[in-house]
Symmetry: C2
């Protein structure tokens, strides 16, 4: 297997943390998103959507999308379980991972990509050039604040997002909170449960990945 990464980007970091938790060490190739290497024909053949992370399997075929890559790695390296340990737990982990993507990750991405100077005609990931929409960046910022409130309430009830065990949902949310620093939206001081959780998950050695 070969892992296509970009050390500075949030989405592949989700997989890097996932692998660090499991002690997985595989060949890694850095794709330079800054210089547009994801649009080169050589990378399009690996992932036509021109995004990382991507995991090339030994038969040459490729998996992309974080949840798919993590599902595959969890089957190969089951311990520690990061996708839940029972059918109900697995469903709750998928549910929270999905909420974190929709309410958190895409909101920060909207807020960042629609105003960043270097992304003028690259307001969405992928091979098509879309112009920035500054109003969408504003909506993204409002959505991030709602997301913080939503997960603060959830974390008041339990130690981790999907229950009492650390999971891919926590990894995704950690990456969202750290990505939001790019748009200067720190966790609000009064979001005490979210702050407690962020300190806890940030102190795991995997967070350095």
């Amino acid at each position: 297997m070969r892992f296509y990464d970009c050390k500075t980007a949030p989405s592949p970091r989700r997989v890097r943390i996932f692998m660090a938790e499991k002690g997985i060490d595989i060949e890694t190739v850095q794709v330079d998103l800054g210089s547009g290497e994801q649009f080169a024909d050589s990378f399009r053949e690996i992932n036509a959507d021109c995004v990382v992370p991507a995991l090339q399997l030994d038969d040459g075929s490729c998996l992309s999308e974080v949840i798919a890559i993590c599902h595959y790695l969890e089957a190969l390296y089951p311990e520690p379980a990061l996708l839940g340990s029972s059918d109900e737990e697995r469903a709750r982990v998928l549910m929270w991972n999905s909420k974190v993507e929709q309410q958190g990750l895409w909101a920060v991405a909207d807020a960042f990509r629609n105003v960043a100077k270097g992304l003028k005609d690259r307001a969405a990931t992928g091979p098509v050039a879309y112009a920035q929409i500054p109003e969408l960046a504003e909506r993204g910022r409002a959505r991030v604040l709602h997301f913080y409130d939503r997960i603060n309430q959830q974390l008041a009830k339990q130690e981790f997002l999907a229950g009492e065990a650390y999971s891919i949902a926590d990894i995704s949310a950690l990456v969202v909170v750290d990505f939001a620093a790019w748009i200067k939206l720190a966790v609000p001081e009064d979001a005490e449960h979210l702050k407690r959780w962020h300190e806890s998950v940030s102190s795991r050695p995997s967070a350095a990945a």
Copy 2:
């Protein structure tokens, strides 16, 4: 279990088709999105994100997010498998389901919700009021056309989106194509593989769900 549905909405239709394929018949409650029933306190207690579908379990707790609900139902009713039959297949199904959501479903939703007369301050699903952004509706339309091209190319290679077996990824894509009729974006005439596939999946009895 109790299924919270809205007969006219695209997202819960994904679960309705999934259940029809498996012959699952459970108690169903209609939530009237048109009159704002999803914002009532009684429904917020079931799903704080104020969206359907939602699946209430026998202990009163609730699963939301289509992929989580389908994962749970697949464990209870494994046949026919709609989430893949091997670890690699399951990863490919998750991958394509995720691509269909991001590139298709959210694009149609952006295109619809940011101009629809009845959704003036409800441009995003969920409990928060966001004003419409007409430019985002335009970007959504362009993204839908790219999505059609993307899956047309994929369906040139194989019978179904994630391989040779019908899966939740096909269900999600069928719902996206039919949802795009709301914004008058039919499958282009020259997208021959997508047309072949759409006729095939639409002819299954489950498509009436």
